[in-house]
Each structure stands twice: as structure tokens, then as C-alpha cells.
């Protein structure tokens, strides 16, 4: 047991943060979100630096990849970090051409990054296949929820590379791990933005963050977000086993609902505007917490894995 980053892990976190400070951040995310655009230059920069492949690199693994995805989420990068760096390598032990979008035939609705992806991974029960996409294949939809979304319904009949027996189940575990990490990082971003604002903003002659009624709600959120973060890290370190990946995703999605509500309620009217950074993280929380069936589906999967012997 060791709950501190080692020197290599700290070096990874610092290097990724440095790259993100140059290529990402809330202002850039806000501009991209207005048009529902994908951040191709950021994707390229992370790829060139080797961060997309860190899960498969010698001496590294899913925990190191989780640190990368967490950092991207905190910096509000509009890139398919979870699918590329975590879900696919965790499930398949190899890379697929990125950007990657993940879809489950059993879960309807638009898919994150599908209009910008080169690979669409489609889960069907315990199986899965990889489809090569060309620009324009998936129909982009307008959305205020921070990520580029697109409909893939028309693509689901297409043939693709069969990813092998059991790949669907393993991909679902990897996807849940990725969601848990992205939820953790995005909640941190939303909470940090809220805390920063409430420390500055004064009403009744004092900072709003000094009121006990406000502090208790922020503290509760911070406790649960910290728990979600550690659940995700442990699930990554253990290789995304079904129960732990699902528990981490369930807890993240469960907490995200409350974090969204508190962050907006406490930030007041400015929090609803595009001039203020909160929306960059908060609106994404809704997309993340509904993905792959949401908290209820993750929690039921975790319970099945623990008590009914199947995910």
C-alpha cells in the first residue's frame, strides 16, 4: 500500500500539466464548446508527446494513463482522452487509430467525439467491433453539454473489425474506468472554479466562501469528489476489473449530479454565463454522468459483478 505518487508518476503528472497549460484550459474549451468543435491540435500534441500510449509503454500502465486522462479532464481538454488512453488499451491491450469514439448498441443517444473519430468502437453484448470512420460519417448534433456529440445510428449496420470474444465486456469495464477518471477530473475542475470564485466574491460584506451554510456544502462535495478520484485510481491500478471499474463510475456519476447542482447554485447567476469558466466543466458533467447508462447502470453492473458473478 502506498498512496503517494512515485517519482516517475509525479514526473508524468507535471509534464502533462505543462503541456496542457500551453494547449488547453477553460478559455480554449469555452471557445471550442461554442461550435461543438474537437481540439485536433491538442490531440496531436498529446499524441506526439507519447501520452496516448502511456498505458502500453514499458514501465507504465493504466494508473499512469489515468493520471494523464485526469489532467486532461481538469484542463477541460476537448479530446477523446478516456477512450484512447484508457478504455481501449485496458480492454484490448493495444491501440486503435485515434481519435476513438465508443458506442454501445444497447444505449441509445448521441456519442461523444463520433463526428471527429477515426475509429468507432461499437459494443454489442459481450462482443465488439471497430469501424473505420471518414469525416461526415456521423451526424454532428448541437449540444450545450460541452463535448462534441454526434449520432451514429446510421453506422451501426456497418461491418468492421471483430475485436474478438469477450471484447464487449472488457471494453465496457475499460469505458467505465475512463468515465470514472474523466468524472473525477471534471468534478475537480468544476469544484476548483467554484471555490476560486466564492473566495473572491463578497456579499453582506464578506466572502461567500466564509458562510458556514456554504462551506458545509462545498466540503461535502470535496469529500465525495476525493473519494471518486481514489476509486478511479484504484480501479486503474488494478487493471479495470469489472466490479471496481463499475463502482468507480457509479460513484463518480452519483456524486456528479450533486456537484453540478451545488456548483451552480453557489456560483449564482454568473455561473450560467459563457463569460465565467464554470460551464466548461459543469455542463460536461451531465454528458459524462449519463454515458453508458449512467449511475444506475454502473451500480447495477458492480452489484452483479460482486454478488451475481457476472457483469
Amino acid at each position: 500500500m502506498d498512496f503517494e505518487l512515485d517519482d516517475d508518476q509525479r514526473a508524468i503528472a507535471e509534464a502533462v500539466d505543462a503541456l496542457l497549460a500551453k494547449h488547453a484550459g477553460p478559455a480554449r474549451a469555452a471557445a471550442l464548446a461554442r461550435d461543438g468543435a474537437y481540439d485536433a491540435p491538442l490531440d496531436a500534441a498529446l499524441g506526439e508527446a507519447g501520452w496516448w500510449d502511456v498505458a502500453l509503454a514499458p514501465g507504465a500502465g493504466l494508473l499512469e494513463a489515468a493520471l494523464v486522462v485526469d489532467a486532461v479532464a481538469r484542463a477541460a481538454g476537448a479530446v477523446a482522452a478516456g477512450a484512447v488512453a484508457l478504455a481501449v488499451p485496458a480492454a484490448l491491450g493495444r491501440a486503435l487509430p485515434g481519435p476513438i469514439a465508443l458506442a454501445d448498441e444497447a444505449v441509445p443517444g448521441p456519442v461523444r467525439f463520433a463526428a471527429d473519430a477515426r475509429t468507432l468502437v461499437v459494443l454489442r453484448g459481450s462482443g465488439a467491433r471497430a469501424l473505420a470512420l471518414a469525416p461526415g460519417d456521423a451526424r454532428r448534433v448541437a449540444t450545450p453539454y460541452g463535448y462534441p456529440l454526434a449520432r451514429v445510428d446510421a453506422l451501426l449496420g456497418r461491418a468492421g473489425e471483430d475485436l474478438g470474444a469477450g471484447a464487449g465486456a472488457r471494453l465496457r469495464d475499460g469505458w467505465r474506468l475512463a468515465l470514472a477518471v474523466e468524472l473525477g477530473g471534471t468534478m475537480r475542475g468544476a469544484l476548483d472554479a467554484t471555490l476560486a470564485y466564492l473566495r473572491e466574491r463578497r456579499q453582506f460584506g464578506r466572502p461567500i466562501a466564509s458562510f458556514q451554510a456554504v462551506q458545509h456544502r462545498l466540503a461535502w462535495c470535496a469529500v465525495q469528489v476525493e473519494g471518486a478520484r481514489w476509486l478511479a485510481l484504484e480501479a486503474a491500478a488494478r487493471g479495470a476489473p469489472a466490479e471496481q471499474a463499475a463502482l468507480a463510475a457509479a460513484h463518480g456519476a452519483f456524486v456528479a449530479k450533486r456537484v453540478f447542482a451545488e456548483a451552480h447554485q453557489l456560483s449564482g447567476a454568473i455561473g450560467y454565463t459563457r463569460e465565467h469558466p464554470l460551464h466548461v466543466w459543469s455542463m460536461r458533467l451531465q454528458a459524462l454522468r449519463l454515458e453508458l447508462g449512467g449511475a444506475t447502470a454502473h451500480a447495477a453492473a458492480a452489484a452483479r459483478a460482486r454478488w451475481a458473478g457476472a457483469a
Binding site: S210, V223, G227, A300
Partner: protein, 380 residues
Amino acid sequence: MDFDWSPEDAAFRRALVAFLAEALPPDWDEVAKDGPGSEAQVAFSHGFCGALAARGWLTPHWPVEVGGGGASAWRHAILGEELWSRGEPRGPQYMNVNWIGPAILRYGTEAQRRAHLPRIARGDVIWCQGFSEPDAGSDLVALRTRAVREGDAYVVDGTKIWTSYANHAEWCFLLARSDPSASRHRGLSVLLVPMSLAGIEVREIPSVVGERYFHEVCFRGVRVPAEARLGPEGEGWDVVTYALQHERVGAPRYARAARTLDRLVAALPPAALDDPARLARLGEARALCEAARLLSYRVVDQRARGLPPSADANVARVAGTFAEQWVADLALELAGADGLEAGGFADAQFRMAMTAGVAVGATEVQLDLVASRWLGLPRG
């Protein structure tokens, strides 16, 4: 970062679980149904703690020279999980190893360490905690019990309340005001008081939580030898703060809640697990327990590194309380009206969880401390 147990710690847990299978009687759940302070459980705990101590398993993480095994804090955490989750067969003695011993280890004189630590390590002594008072609950610093220095003794007058195990205790870890003129946080001292001294009276306060759970302890002109003071005079608040940060993660409530979920599922008919809504509620509750486990491990990790207590203990406490109460509600709901019968595990879990948000500092106090010390928010 490493989330795996060392081979030695994993082997220790296996050996402990095997020992418990032998050491706990078949009707153990019946013995433990009324909590660690009940007559039945206290009676059982005497032999049990001796057996643990004989294996070096009561204080494995203490230094060798005071009766410990020199192992890391993780060993103590494993013990806490396996014992507390089964309803705490150490009885009231879990407090000795969780926070009383560590406080004496940290602040005790050589004589105090020699007097108290070997007995705790042997498992033959029961302590109680004299902190809360009728007019000093969450605002503990408002306490009014006085310890007036007269020659080589302190004369103690006042009333302590909600004191668990006071009826069985041989010693009291007492916080009293030794200097009424000092500011609120100063002027407090900790005294290690024999409960046999003249002028101490214990009265049980019947409760719905468990048998012999709460007591009122009155001190009337009790002469306590001056050498019973733990730590410097007037600096009792520092001693108590240190002790409380140990106590907050001492009893792993998440572990008991997680075990309750396992037992709850085992008691359900198999078809009950076909219902996705019920599965989701169980999974959600388990996620809360697991999150609390990791936040507690973070505190254990800091302790294993020899770092001073931090606000991470408050974070862990908030998460543990929330998880336990969530599970308790779910246990009672899934058990249905059957859960209302005294002594079932749903009832035992529910009543144990009732006090979680108040014991060791109300959740609101924990949240205050998370806000100020962990988030660094300005005081109101």
C-alpha cells in the same frame, strides 16, 4: 502508488480471519447484537483480547519496547476492518488501541507509559473517554469540569456525559479545565483518572441505541494525583486533538457497512438479484463504502509514513459516516418489517449507524474542519 497489500500484510489478514473463525462462538452475532458496551460483549472481550495479545495482534504496530510488534499502521488497519466489521469482539478495548494508547505513547511520561501501555498491549484494561458534558457537546471547548491544583493533586469537580463503557472502565481519559482564567483553548488539561477514586459516580442513561451505551459520570471533589496529568498543564487541547484524529479513523465503519451489504444480499432470495433497481441500490451503497475505505487508507498511509495527523482524517470521517448511514437505511428498507425485530443484522447496523453522525464530533464539526483545514476557506 500501490493499492496492493504486501505479502506479509495479506498473510496476516488470512491468519486473522482463520483465527476469528475459531475464536468467535457460533452464536457470536447474538453476543454482539447490543454493541461493544453490552454485558455479554464485554464479558467475551476479556478472553478474546488476551488471546489476541498472546499472538501479538492487539498492538502489532506499536514499538517493540512498549509491548508492540514494530509493524506498520497498516497492520492495525487490517485488525480494525476485520474486528469492527464483525461487531468488535475487542469490546471497549478497541478504544485503547485506536487512540488512548497512541496519545499516551505520544504525550506520556516514562512512568505513564510503563503504567498504561503494557496493560493495553496485554488486553486486560478498559478505558472510557471523559470529554462531552451536558453543556459542552460539539462546542467541546466550553467544558466546565474543573481540575484545581491543590498541592500534589488536582481536585476534580464536574459532570461528563454520553460516556460509553464508563460502567466497566477502570480508567478515564479525562479532559478538564485546569486554568479558568486562560482563553478557551488554553487552560485545559488531560488527566488519566482511576475510576475507583472516591467521589466518582456512574449512572447509565438508557437509550434506544444499545445496551449500556451511554452514561453520566459525576466527579465530586475527586483528588487525582498530579502525576496523572498527560502532557503539559494547559495544553490538553493539543492532546485531545491528536487523540481525536486517531479516533476518527479508528473504527472502520465502512468495513462494517460493506459486510452488512454482503449479509443483506446473502439473506435475499436469489431472484431478488434479477431486479436491476435493487442491484443498483446495492451497488451504489457499496461504492460509498469503497470510497470511504480509500479515504481512510489515505490517513493510514500518512500514519505509516510517520506524518502528523491531518484534516484527511476529517475527510475520511465524513465519507465513512455518510456510507454507513446510507447502508443502514438501505438495510432496513430491504429487510422490510422483518428488520424491526431486535438483534437482526439490519437492526444492529441501523442502530450502530444512528450515532455515527454525532460520535467523535458531529458531522457539522467535521465539515467545518474540512472547509477550514482541507479547503482553506476563510472563517466566518
